[in-house]
Amino acid sequence: MVISETTARQVAGRRWRSSRGVLLVVLALAALALALAALRPGGTAQDLDPTSPSDGGTRALAEILKQRGVRLDVARRAGDAAARATPGGTLVVTRTDRLTPTDLGTLQETTANLVLVTPDRHALESLAPGVRRAEPSFEETDVPGCALPAAVAAGRVEFGQAQTYEVPSGATRCYVGDRFPRLVEIADGGRTVTVLGSAAPLVNRSLAEEGNAALAMNLVGARPHVVWLIPDLPEPGAEGGERSLGDLLPFGVKLFFLELIVAVALAALWRSRRLGPVVAEALPVVVRSAETVEGRSRLYRAHRARDRAAEALRAGARERLVALLGLPRGAAADPEAAPQIVAAVAARTGRDEPFVGEALYGPEPVDDAALVRLTDLLDDLERQVRQS
């Protein structure tokens, strides 16, 4: 037992040692996947959508604006938004990560005042010149600390986690947490561009917090016409600037892969050249001699041929009994000799004759269990005769 125990432990240890590398890699991959999922910017398709009543939507704001008589147009494409925007109106740009360079160019050419909600780097570059992203701020609420009327009217505002911005001189800096502002207003040509570092003041979930509603109303609803751009995902290839993998790979890498293919081909040639031919040999047929007997057994079983099976078993038993009892050799197969055999067996085993007769010459067993019992009974008779 000691040996088997140590062997089992050794086996387990060996398995652990051989598999721990794989296990480690799998765990590392899982951890990496979790980290990536956590780092991925959250957000659903409905975020900042003025028609969505969900937590991240902005339907509450849209309704309030409507009640106040502000006309709100929702645009799903940049071109659409640029066409609807009126000079002196407001164009709210959300989800800038979905805007292509062309879209940004279109938006740049409009004359409407822009409100950029958490813009990404490209949007900032083209729409809010001079403004650059700084570090994020984790301070939840803040006071305006600036002279911007919209901010002053709103007072304390809840931002949640927000992006802050480095701004050029001459810009209005509001809600400056530690160093950088969360709300920036700059003049770009004849329009004002407002950059808001957090969507929290606009969305349904936190519209009622602090002075959020006031800030939102004042930023978005300051003018009678608002176009709210929430772009759909750009269609693949629509930009025309799409390039295939081949265009992106450096020439050297392409040659690298070509040479690798050549190397694999050479290795294949190396492995495929055998040292001499494969020798074919005619092998003898393998037929088991007992196959016919086994086949017959399966046929009996498939057709539940209890009658034939019982007869074969009884004939075999009679043959052996006749030899044991010293009766003439042909008696086993001779129906005339039946009473003689039954009597002799009954006398030797001490069982009564009808019982022995039933066993040796009886009718077909009624079911499978009876057939098995008959076999056992014949064995018993044979053994008793042998021992008597």
Binding site: S289, A312, L313, D379
Partner: protein, 430 residues
């Protein structure tokens, strides 16, 4: 020609070059270098065409034993040949080692030993010799495959020869020092000797007794120079495997023991292997030559998957033998084959000859007959009982024609057949 793994590895490493110098010229130059290396290797590798092969060694081996075959490699070229050599044999020849390294200087010869451990009976022919000589850079090799014919005949194992000495001792009881006192058809007068207690009074020679003062008995000995014809059935029934051995191999083993015994007993033994035509025949072999020629004749025999032609076999037999002989038919007690083929022809045979049928019983049937427990086992037992009953009926039918039947499992068939022969001899029935 053959490429090496080193070339593939080098080509793979060369893939790093265009990363450093991304240009077509880098790659082309590298390929040029590889090609030059391959060409140099092919030019400088040993000249495998200049090798000549000669073989020597065993031509016969008994199944289960090992044979050694020597291949002499002669270098007729002007340069030394270093190479890997493979002596190619069929898988069932069990050749080892698979490959050998050779180093043959110009004008000299080297020997390569190949050990064969055959796994089957029959003729094994060498397929050829393959030589691969790798060039000095190890990038490419010259390779050549050429025939180097040799044949090793794998003879039957004859495992039952361990019974031979026991059976010969029994035979001596019948013939030599121990004299048979039974007088029968197949006995001949041996000598007169004094009566001792226990001798059969019927064998007293009264005339000789009258001439002498003592009571004298005649002694007899089994007649010599009887003829025994062994007939191997190589038809479909001989292909069935009993255990893991074809029935034919068991029959051969029994035939060899009987042949060895009978030839020592002074009888003449002939062999015929037949299915639909004569597969092998040994006739008129001298006593010393009998066993080798039987073994040689049996070696290439394979069971044929066709029904044996009993009529053809009987006529092939009857056309050759004139005098009375013992025909030992080594076959299978298969009801269809025997009842339709052999039984109608038996009277022709038994009219002039004594016929003995030897069949190998399958122990698996016995196992199945003893199976108990569940329903499947009981049906197995029933099928086995049925098969045994068929065999018994067939045996009884054959005996009714005066045919001797020996039916034994594979490990007992050879001694059982020898015993049956000795019994016939002792009874003077040959």
């Amino acid at each position: 020609m053959a490429l090496t793994g080193r070339l593939g590895l080098l080509a793979g490493l060369g893939a790093l070059l265009p990363l450093v110098l991304p240009s077509w010229w880098t790659l082309l130059a590298f390929w040029g270098a590889l090609l030059a290396g391959v060409a140099a290797d092919l030019a400088l590798a040993g000249n495998v065409r200049a090798l000549a092969y000669h073989r020597s060694g065993d031509t016969n081996v008994r199944l289960g034993e090992r044979a050694a075959v020597t291949l002499t490699v002669e270098n007729r070229g002007r340069r030394r040949v270093k190479a890997v050599l493979r002596d190619v044999w069929p898988p069932s020849a069990g050749a080892s080692p698979r490959t050998t390294r050779i180093d043959v200087p110009a004008g000299e010869a080297r020997r390569v030993e190949t050990a064969l451990a055959p796994t089957r009976r029959g003729d094994r022919e060498a397929v050829g010799v393959v030589v691969r000589s790798v060039g000095p850079l190890g990038l490419a090799a010259r390779q050549l495959s050429r025939p180097a014919p040799w044949r090793v005949r794998v003879l039957p194992a004859f495992p039952s020869r361990r019974h031979l000495s026991g059976k010969l001792a029994k035979l001596r009881e019948l013939t030599g020092a121990h004299v048979a006192l039974i007088r029968g058809q197949g006995t001949e007068f041996d000598s007169l000797r004094e009566y001792v207690d226990g001798d059969d009074v019927r064998s007293i020679d009264w005339r000789a007794t009258a001439r002498r003062r003592d009571v004298v008995v005649r002694t007899w000995r089994p007649e010599r120079d009887r003829r025994i014809y062994l007939v191997l059935d190589t038809g479909r029934t001989s292909a069935g495997r009993v255990g893991d051995i074809p029935r034919l191999d068991c029959s051969m083993d029994a035939a060899l023991l009987l042949g060895a015994l009978a030839s020592r007993a002074g009888d003449r033994v002939d062999l015929l292997a037949y299915d639909r035509r004569v597969r092998a025949r040994v006739e008129g072999a001298s006593r010393t030559d009998l066993l080798p020629s039987m073994v040689q004749a049996m070696a290439p025999l394979e069971p044929e998957l066709i029904e044996s032609d009993a009529a053809g076999m009987v006529s092939a037999l009857l056309s050759r033998v004139r005098q009375r002989c013992l025909v030992v038919l080594l076959t299978e007690l298969n009801p269809a084959a025997i009842e339709e083929g052999l039984l109608p022809l038996l009277p022709q045979l038994t009219a002039r000859h004594l016929v003995m049928v030897a069949a190998v019983a399958d122990p698996r049937v016995g196992e199945m007959a003893g199976a108990r427990g569940d329903l499947a086992a009981v049906y197995d037992a029933a099928a086995a009982e049925r098969a045994r009953a068929d065999r018994r009926r067939l045996t009884a039918e054959l005996r009714s024609f005066g045919v001797e039947v020996v039916d034994a499992p594979p490990d007992e068939i050879a001694p059982a057949l020898a015993d049956a022969y000795l019994a016939l001899k002792a009874a003077g029935r040959l």
